[in-house]
Subunit: 173 residues, 2 copies
DNA sequence: TAAAGCATGTAATCCGTTACATGATTTA
DNA sequence: TAAATCATGTAACGGATTACATGCTTTA
């Protein structure tokens, strides 16, 4: 249950609303964990019920600001240190490359070049983010990861495109 | 629906059974897309119903061997080239690093060193796999990605551990 | 005053995991 | 003959996405 702890960790940094939490996920966590509002609200309800967060106050437009409780803080800490991280990862784009041999090499190469361009673009966005003021002392860690990840994807895509091109040339010769 | 196309792509390489497909996922696709037998069997049933695969024959222990149909092959090709890849990725371990500032720096550093060791181990496994004979012409592409990904994770973990250590030293001084 | 954005939620559906259930064949 | 492995499936549950539903407040 990563969403649960992600929310708790963000609320630990400072009191917020569900709506703002969604924006935080969008802005800084999108590359590691996506979350929709429709999933956030019920989860906040559960965290509240369980006493891990409390309502600090209600603003205009029935906006509810939550803050973390001592129990909530203890729970994030427990999660960070005592729960074995889930290292499994899915990558639909990479799954696809297993099957590139099924299509025309020229099309496969074009596909990989397009992907490389997209990853170069993402890399720029994260490099820019790395230059900005971090929200918490540990925020630079995952941002640096995002930079390295995008760069590796871009470089791999170019390597793969070259390889597909060279192999199809060799096959024709 | 990546599982669907992953199965189709594997069956396109050569006729197989559900059981063997699960082993293929375990062996070579585990790092990009995990799949359980209980998910594979119903999906094979659907692919069969839709005429994308057909039963080649039945062996001992009511083992069913499927092969791809022309429609099935057309469908994988369409997926590879015409369907926008899902580049979203979740990474529970990386989400956690957003919240490392909530725990003691010495514990945070120890956590990152443990992670680094795990990624070094995975790196070795994939380097070994990269040395073996590929199952299809495009199989080396995702294997090379796995090697790069694990290496980057290991290096990042060590970088992050050093950073946490240095920052907590600076704070004490 | 209309549009954009803020704000919260429910319902239906889908995908994936875990647990359950069964039985055949090979190997030690 | 017992254990391991092969082999196929169903059922229950949980997490996540998409679609739906509602209404307030600010800004152009």
């Amino acid at each position: 249950m990563s969403l649960r702890h992600g929310l708790l960790g963000l609320i630990a940094a400072r009191p917020t609303t569900g709506y703002d939490l969604a924006k935080s996920f969008e802005a800084s966590l999108a590359n590691v964990w996506a979350a929709q509002l429709s999933q956030i609200y019920p989860e906040l309800g559960r965290l509240h019920e369980q006493g891990l967060i409390r309502v600090l106050g209600t603003g205009p437009r029935q906006k509810k600001t939550y803050e973390i409780t001592d129990e909530g803080l203890a729970e994030v800490r427990r999660w960070v240190l005592d729960v074995e991280p889930d290292r499994a990862h899915r990558n639909g784009a990479m799954l696809r490359t297993f099957f590139l041999w099924l299509v025309d090499p020229a099309e496969a190469e074009a596909y990989l070049r397009r992907e490389a361009a997209i990853h170069r673009g993402n890399l720029e966005r994260f490099e820019e983010m790395a230059g900005r003021e971090p929200a918490t002392p540990s925020a630079p860690l995952p941002v640096e990861w995002a930079v390295r990840y995008c760069r590796e994807l871009a470089e791999w895509s170019e390597w793969a495109a070259d390889r597909v091109r060279d192999e199809s040339r060799a096959a024709r010769a």
